[in-house]
């Protein structure tokens, strides 16, 4: 079916619209959003298999020929990311049932989540730079609502800062697109790439490349543009935080990957060098934050920054091996970050606090939760049979092959810091003497644990099945290493 690749966008869009009419009945909202998200997941899996068998899928919307209309492009990379996004959204929706509270649910919560899914899937699928801006705005607008929904004081305070930063970065995105349009005269990403290859990377294009880096770096929280993230992500409730932490920053990283592998690959001595330096500082800053705090949310939030640094480092090395590692690590990190946020969410629900020093002894009463968290922690750090291992191995090997010993070593050492930070949660939260927590027995712990466990299980399968995933991942990196594959698929020459 030729319209297959629009389904992961269309299904949540229709659902979001339908859900607006059903705000009064929470039950109907839950049923519809679960069914439709399962539908989105199924559609994206079918899409993934189609791309695997038949190569890159494209649609020219309304049948306008490629550079003139808007083209949606699903190569292996975007199909993988769309599938992961749909899975994570499904788990977060399941988690929300018992955790978000009826007052928020009645206030368009599920509808806004579907809009967020539209924005993220759209940003992964589009083949047009201005259309990407529009999908960014769809995603951001939904995230503004999600961050402030409920209207507590901390949410109001932090959402003002979050919105301000994103308004500025959106204006910069518009400016960057305007400058790019004035130089190449096209908005279609394949066409832009082709034209840049023809004229070579003029100095003005390097300037635009750095401008794009600033824009996407603000979305993806790389050094020195990460300053808004720890405060803003601390404010919203846990399921929203899980969505943000696993999806939003990765859209920024994906955009850096796409623009730097498709448009701006001619002057690597400058652009990719810059990217590498920023990535390493990001890793260090994130690592410092992760070990500095005694707050479970803060620890995992700083781990997002570490992972973004590692991913951007993978982009900066720009060899086939490092791209493979980077794609592998992106999928792993999306899944495992969502899982970790959901699991610490359960811990916070039980204990009623996010301060690690007030927790302790959860292992006795909740062994399943404890072991799941431990597996997730090991996967995050990249212990061999689990999913974090292969990605980081390939990134570091790519770095060493390029002779970047110091930075590869820092990436390697960051694993230790990450491991220390999450094991600190495990040792202080699950070991030690058990404590009494008021209101603990009324919490639906098993129900809340299941979505996190599904994600951890996925991550285990992903790690153990690395052999199966490898050809898929290398198909995803083909278009990154060799942009003509992407261009030919879109412009059909």
């Amino acid at each position: 079916m030729i319209n297959l690749l629009i389904l992961p966008l269309l299904i949540p869009l229709v659902t979001a619209t339908v859900l607006i009419f059903l705000t009064k009945s929470v039950g109907a909202q839950r049923v519809i959003s679960v069914i439709s998200t399962i539908g989105t997941l199924a559609a994206s899996i079918v899409l993934l298999l189609t791309v695997k068998n038949e190569g890159i899928q494209t649609i020219n919307v309304s049948s306008w020929e490629a550079p003139f209309g808007i083209t949606l492009v699903s190569d292996m990379l975007s199909a993988l990311l769309v599938t992961t996004t749909s899975l994570i959204t499904l788990c977060v929706i399941l988690y929300s049932f018992r955790s978000i509270g009826a007052s928020r649910e009645r206030f368009y919560y599920y509808s806004v989540i579907q809009f967020l899914l539209v924005g993220v899937n759209g940003a992964f699928t589009t083949g047009d730079i201005f259309n990407m801006f529009v999908f960014f705005e769809v995603m951001l607008m939904a995230s503004y609502v999600l961050i402030v929904i409920g209207g507590t004081k901390i949410q109001l305070r932090e959402s003002i800062k979050y919105i301000l930063v994103n308004v500025i970065s959106s204006a910069l995105f518009v400016i960057a697109v305007a400058l790019l349009y004035s130089v190449v005269g096209s908005l279609n990403m394949a066409d832009i790439s082709q034209r840049i290859a023809e004229i070579g990377q003029l100095p003005i294009l390097t300037v635009i490349a750095v401008l794009f880096l600033i824009v996407f770096g603000l979305k993806g929280a790389i050094f020195p543009l990460y300053f808004w993230l720890p405060g803003s992500y601390y404010a919203p409730p846990v399921p929203v935080l899980a969505l943000f932490g696993s999806l939003l920053t990765k859209v920024g990283v994906y955009s850096i990957l796409r623009s730097y592998s498709l448009f701006f690959y001619h002057d690597q001595a400058f652009t990719h060098e810059l990217l590498g330096i920023l990535a390493i500082i990001t890793v260090i800053i994130g690592g410092i934050g992760a070990i500095a705090y005694w707050d479970v949310k803060k620890i995992i939030i700083y781990n997002i920054i570490v992972a973004v640094g590692v991913l951007v480092y993978g982009i900066s090395v720009a060899t086939e091996e490092s791209y493979k590692g980077m794609v592998f690590y992106t999928i792993h990190d999306m899944i495992i970050k969502a899982a970790l946020f959901l699991l610490i969410g359960v811990m916070i629900k039980i204990t009623g606090t996010s301060d690690l020093r007030k927790m302790g002894g959860l292992m006795k009463k909740y062994p399943l939760l404890g072991w799941t968290f431990l597996i997730a922690a090991f996967a995050l750090a990249g212990i061999p049979p689990l999913s974090g291992f292969v990605g980081k191995l390939l990134i570091v090997r790519g770095g060493f092959a390029e002779g970047e010993y110091v930075s590869s070593l820092i990436v390697l050492l960051s694993s230790l810091v990450v491991l220390y930070s999450v094991i600190k949660i495990f040792m202080n939260g699950f070991w030690k003497a058990p404590k009494e927590y008021p209101g603990e027995d009324s919490q639906p712990v098993t129900f809340l644990w299941v979505p996190g466990a599904i994600l951890v299980l996925t991550s285990i399968l992903y790690g153990v099945g690395a052999e199966v995933m490898y050809p898929i991942i290398s198909q995803a990196t083909d278009a990154l290493v060799n942009p003509t594959i992407y261009i030919d698929a879109v412009l059909k020459e």
């Binding site: 305070r157 919105i163 400016i175």
Partner: protein
């Protein structure tokens, strides 16, 4: 003509940055308004300001102005309009709840709310 526009856009962006660095929330929102004006004018300038008819085929002119930047601006305008409306209401709510519009007083750690 483009040089003149560039100077005007530069002035707009400079005042936007100045306003956004101030303490009062309303001045910051006025700054974001100026910022989006600057960005939109930049699109129309970067599309080229050559003389031509308005992009209506009924004009039957020899040359038209580039219609694409105009469509882009129209999209960007409504988006920034939506975001600004949301931001203004949020500022109003924050003023009601927090009792201040001074960004300095909105600092503070998570614990003290």
């Amino acid at each position: 003509m483009e040089i003149l526009m560039s100077l005007v856009i530069g002035a707009l962006l400079a005042s936007a940055v100045y306003l956004m660095l101030s303490k009062s929330l309303l001045r910051i929102i006025i700054g974001t308004g100026l910022l989006s004006h600057g960005a939109h004018l930049l699109i129309i300038t970067m599309g080229g300001l050559k003389r031509g008819a308005a992009p209506l085929l009924g004009e039957e002119a020899a040359a038209y102005v580039d219609p694409l930047p105009q469509a882009l601006i129209l999209t960007a305008i409504v988006i920034s309009f939506g975001v600004t409306a949301f931001f203004l209401v949020l500022a109003y709510r924050a003023y009601q709840e927090l009792g201040t519009d001074n960004m300095d007083e909105m600092r503070g750690n998570e614990a003290n709310d």
